[in-house]
């Protein structure tokens, strides 16, 4: 067709203000009719230079920064940073603190995937319904966070050596009350979308990432698992005692947008399993070890990574025995998953580009930091 009808490509800005860019993110798409012939991303609208700011603050003072990178999964970010500092300073966390961390991280994964799966459904055009269903469940999780840490989004709950406070008395009851409705909502969302023909033609074979490319482009999280690569840091390099819990890694078939969506839904089910096991075996004892306020870890470097909802979230810290990190680097999964945006979008239509972007599940706070 394109050989017969010649048309002039033009640049269309998708973003920074656009319903489907999930924040201030911009794709400079060169389009030829409906077809995307080139896509270039423009980021940095939300850049706050956290890595520089963190060099001026103490190790504990940096925890709120990590809340604000990936604001949809602040608990996971707290956890990744605390693990890195603990690795650097050689601090052990008591078993109760670890179990609470696991519960919080998995609740956060549920909340984040609720948003991710719902927003993806919104991008395919399922007008608001799945996202509202998922948001209803997400609100309950945020209520639990508020109950525990006092904040809904930027929880600032993890501390170096454990967690900030003991969990409230009715915490377990509330979390258990959430599991059943959450399972129902996942099944509802699956029933509404997974077998829907329109959803299938929109998401199947769209934005395909072959496994070789997925590994070579350093992808992580559901992007990597969607391509059929069994990689989950909770299994591969267990932290916080994840080796005690029985769960499975969901992997996709061919690495398209649909695979990433079903992988997210299945991960939510696995998270619920982990939460149930962690609640059943919640150990007693202290929730945190005593850590001096102005912690001065020995000189050296540490790289700790966790499986955040978006992928491999790494914190690389360099210490010079000072009270603040000499170098504080975040390995942002959203940013690195975006590196294949061009491969995913070029050649497809504008609608496919939106679906591809939605299937990455980006958070712009984490991309720009």
């Amino acid at each position: 067709m394109s050989e017969i009808v010649q048309s002039e490509p033009f640049v269309m800005n998708i973003g920074p203000q656009h319903p489907s860019t999930h924040g201030v993110f911009r794709v400079k798409a060169t389009v030829d009719g409906e077809q995307v012939v080139d896509a270039e991303m423009v980021i940095g609208y939300l850049h706050r230079s956290m890595e520089k700011l963190a060099e001026e603050r103490t190790y504990t003072q940096n925890i709120p920064f990590t809340d604000r990178t990936d604001y949809l999964s602040s608990m996971s970010n707290n956890l990744g940073y605390c693990l890195a500092v603990e690795k650097l300073a050689g601090i052990d966390v008591p078993p109760r603190g670890q179990a609470i961390r696991v519960i919080m991280a998995e609740l956060q994964r549920l909340a984040s995937h609720c948003m991710g799966a719902g927003a993806f459904a919104n991008d395919t055009g399922a007008w608001q319904t799945p996202i509202m269903w998922f948001m209803r469940e997400r609100e309950k999780i945020l209520d639990i966070f508020e109950l525990t840490s006092g904040a809904r989004l930027t929880c600032n709950y993890m501390r170096i050596g454990g967690v900030a406070f003991e969990i409230p008395e009715d915490f377990e009851e509330q979390v258990r009350a959430l599991i059943g409705p959450m399972r129902e909502t996942i099944a509802d969302g699956e029933g509404l979308l997974s077998g829907n023909e329109i959803f299938l033609v929109r998401a199947r074979n769209v934005a395909v990432i072959p496994p070789e490319l997925a590994i070579n482009a350093s992808l992580s999280g559901p992007m990597l698992r969607g391509s059929g690569i069994a990689w989950d840091i909770r299994k591969a390099d267990p932290y916080c005692g994840y080796e005690q819990y029985d769960f499975e890694i969901p992997i996709g078939y061919q690495g398209d947008a649909y695979d990433r969506f079903i992988v997210r839904l299945e991960e939510m089910r696995q998270s619920l399993r982990i939460i149930e096991q962690a609640l059943d075996g919640l150990p007693g004892g202290p929730h945190s070890t005593e850590v001096p306020l102005s912690l001065r870890p020995p000189a050296g470097e540490a790289y700790a990574r966790i499986e955040s909802p978006r992928g491999e979230l790494g914190y690389y810290l360099v210490s010079d025995e000072g009270p603040s990190p000499y170098r504080f680097h975040i390995r942002p999964p959203s940013l690195i998953n975006l590196s294949v945006l061009k491969e995913m979008t070029v050649g497809g239509s504008i609608a496919d580009a939106i679906v591809a972007l939605g299937s990455i599940d980006i958070v712009v706070g984490e991309i720009d930091r």
Partner: protein, 419 residues
């Protein structure tokens, strides 16, 4: 017809009012005056009893409440009792808002587009029979009139998109034109099936046909109904096919640069067109104002409005649940799937009609035809979908689960081979 409304003072059926007025005029004034007065009465009656309340309360309020219910939220419930004054509040807010015009826009066309969009909507209701004798312009080819006029708003939408001088608007405009061109074809072919079967193009005559045979055309022409629903929802930009205003892709399509009451006109008339399409569908397929004798006891126009709103409810329902198709898939669906089915159906209906006429069979034959057509529709849809490669059972909807982390896990049973 032995309806209860044979006395001039019996206004249980509103059509009696217009008939009495018209006949009164006929006696005292030249005959031509009736042609002037009738449309005025028609317009007022249609607008007051049907379009305005429907648009405000079914289209705006009802739709938002129902979608809210689907989406696990409340919907409007603040303004007035149960939020019933919400449409009024919306209208007042829109009137207060500034209607922005971009500097680079074509100002005259951008101003004119909403007007072009509104006018055909009012015309559409002229040929719809709200009840017996209650059609305001009994055009012998009312069906053709309806199809023709309902094609006009596409032009207005294109003008709106083009004059906005915005790339998103341009995309929306091009998409709506392409989609309209594609979907008019199966739509008209399917309505042709109806015309062939009922042997009339006049909408009151089609209703009369359904009333006399005691069977609605949805049973006699199920495939035509399905195709009409899909095609009309595509033309109206309702959600499974709302690519011209695809919110997640091109922001708001041809409406991107519109604001204030100019946008409000587009929004309100979108609902108006959807209601007109629903009214048309209930006339053609759902028996119009007839309801197997119930019209003797209930004002027929109430039956008609109930059917129309029921049809509109299906629009709301699909809007609340279905994702959106891509533009090429939507065109492909029209040309590859609907068009062949429409042609085959037209052929079958013509054969049936011919046989009916040649053999001189009675009205009871329609039940046999209904059975044949229902079976044919189901089989044709299924077979044609299989032929085009539709294999829903072969697509795995659950991911694979592995216990151990490692590298790539090859797919032993690739998608298409079943799981």
């Amino acid at each position: 017809m032995s309806l209860a409304t044979d006395h001039w003072y019996d206004f249980r059926d509103l059509s009696n009012l217009s008939r009495v007025i018209l006949e009164g005029i006929d006696k005292v004034a030249p005959y031509e005056l009736a042609y002037i007065v009738a449309p005025i009465i028609g317009f007022v009656a249609a607008f007051v009893i049907f379009v305005l309340p429907s648009q405000l309360y079914v289209g705006v309020y009802g739709e938002r409440r129902i979608i809210g219910r689907i989406q696990a939220r409340r919907g409007p419930n603040r303004v007035g009792p149960f939020g019933l004054l919400q449409p009024v509040a919306d209208a007042i807010k829109l009137l207060q808002k500034e209607a922005l015009t971009p500097k680079v826009a074509d100002k005259a066309l951008m101003w004119a587009a909403p007007v072009f969009f509104v006018a055909p909507c009012v015309l559409l209701f002229a040929v719809i029979p709200f009840g017996p004798r209650m059609v305001f312009a009994d055009v012998p080819a009312g069906l053709i009139f309806f199809i023709g006029v309902s094609g006009l708003p596409v032009l207005a939408a294109f003008i709106a998109g083009w004059s906005s001088n915005n790339k998103y608007s341009l995309f929306g405009a091009m998409r709506i034109v392409a989609m309209s061109v594609s979907y008019e074809v199966p739509l008209v072919l399917m309505l042709l099936c109806v015309v062939v079967f009922t042997n009339s193009m006049s909408l009151p005559a089609i209703v009369e046909f359904q009333r006399e045979t005691d069977l609605w055309l949805i049973f006699m022409q199920p495939l035509a109904f399905v195709v009409y629903f899909i095609a009309v929802s595509a033309e109206l930009n309702r959600t499974p096919t709302d690519i011209a205003e695809a919110e997640s892709e091109i922001v708001a399509g041809y409406l991107t640069e519109y604001s204030g009451m100019r946008w409000g006109l587009f929004y309100g008339m979108d609902i108006g067109y959807a209601l007109a399409a629903a009214a048309f569908a209930s006339t053609i397929f759902l028996g119009g104002w007839s309801m197997w004798g119930l019209e003797q006891w209930v004002p027929p126009w109430l039956i008609f409005i109930a059917k129309t709103h029921l049809f509109y409810l299906v629009f709301i329902w699909t809007r609340g649940t279905l994702p959106r198709l891509r533009v090429d898939q939507l065109m492909g669906f029209a040309w590859k799937f609907l068009l062949p089915l429409a042609v085959v159906n037209l052929f079958l209906v013509s054969l049936e009609r011919l046989w009916w006429l040649e053999a001189g069979l009675g009205d009871g034959m329609v039940f046999a035809f209904a059975g044949i057509n229902i079976v044919f529709s189901a089989v044709a849809i299924f077979l044609w979908a299989r032929f085009l490669g539709y294999r829903p059972e072969s697509i795995p909807t659950r991911p694979r689960l592995v216990q151990k982390a490692g590298g790539y896990v090859p797919v032993e049973d690739p998608p298409g081979g079943g799981k």
